[in-house]
Subunit: 250 residues, 2 copies
Amino acid sequence: MEIIESIQNPKVKTWKKLHSKKGRETTGTFLIEGIHLIEEALKAFIPMKELIINSEKEVPSEWKVSNIPHVFVSAKVLKEICETETPQGYVAVCELPDNRNVLLEKGKFLLIDGVQDPGNVGAIIRTADAAGIDGIILGEGSVDPFNGKVIRSTQGSLFHLPVQKMNLEEALQICRENHIPIFGTTLTGSTYNAIAPQEHFALIVGNEGSGVQETLLNQCDQNLYIPIYGNAESLNVAIATGILLYHLRG
Amino acid sequence: MEIIESIQNPKVKTWKKLHSKKGRETTGTFLIEGIHLIEEALKAFIPMKELIINSEKEVPSEWKVSNIPHVFVSAKVLKEICETETPQGYVAVCELPDNRNVLLEKGKFLLIDGVQDPGNVGAIIRTADAAGIDGIILGEGSVDPFNGKVIRSTQGSLFHLPVQKMNLEEALQICRENHIPIFGTTLTGSTYNAIAPQEHFALIVGNEGSGVQETLLNQCDQNLYIPIYGNAESLNVAIATGILLYHLRG
């Protein structure tokens, strides 16, 4: 068994480039770390190019991975390509999915406008999955969903529903053509629970500091807000998304 | 103006001890960092023992702090006592509040059972503040609310509503005596939105992995759950708390 032991090995350098958005987009691949995420990706038939394994560990026998090349590496190399502090010993190089998989015909959709914190975007994707949302559109100003911290924060939900990067003006245009009601989120407007649950909807949530862009809010059928009853200035965007999605889906 | 420049200064060592729960409890004080949190604490009349200021910065003139001793330190000392990577230059040593301020008579209360992640507890306190909750009880297994990361995650909400550490069995006993309906959270039970909003309630949320302890659930009037419609295994505890509090308060 050949084991890659040097962090100078060209393969190691290539893998490390996948920590950046540029590296992922150039190669069309991204990394996932740990048994749980790899199992979620396998279940979702995410194409994998390589499985990178700490040579002191075994590949779980139930993994159906016989057609995926295995690369064994030292613990030191594995630590080098992992972003977590205590890596479990398993990393997969996956193919970025085709970026045209959210149909926006009928259904429940979430549009994310400029949410920048990876933990927030990951929590939002996980929450949208729990709420049974049909697809997520990420506008240009949001963090890349294949960022390692986003993926870990989704706890596998990134592989459960389509997540697509798209210009939000275009997405709203498609929603209008398909007669999907569009709801923005603001600090004024209609109290969210004055709106009845909807069979089809597109909800837009926005940046941690500045919210949804004005030009997008102007194109919404209604703008919703969550009342603040105490002295907090605002709600965290992932928590607001949870309250709104569970209310709208009914 | 005397400026503390050495990180070996006994004062600096004393301040650093406040990063640990033990240090806070021994001295009865805790640290807060940054202009926003200090302003929130001043507005809430949290007693302050010392204001520590980077000697290159000025004290904002609108701060009503004339009776609080000012200690000027070098940027290096300030960095040493801060937990954030790019400190703003202001730290306050505050007195821990009296731990008997949540009355549990009538009102809306949140009980936290063993939530361990500081970011989660901070987001929960912020969300409970937004939802206009009257007080929070933290059981023994939860992270200390005066942990620096909890305080930063609350974004000042820690100073907006009473947060008390207390044995949860005792808290439930008091709720029962006061005829406050108690709601647990589980993965089975009643769907949360089958329950009408309540004028008075105590909601218990639990540990990230194992949820609320069985012995506490057995003492609840009703146990609520949030349905998972997609393929996520669970919701983040702070997001679940947001959905439940906003539903229960109506």
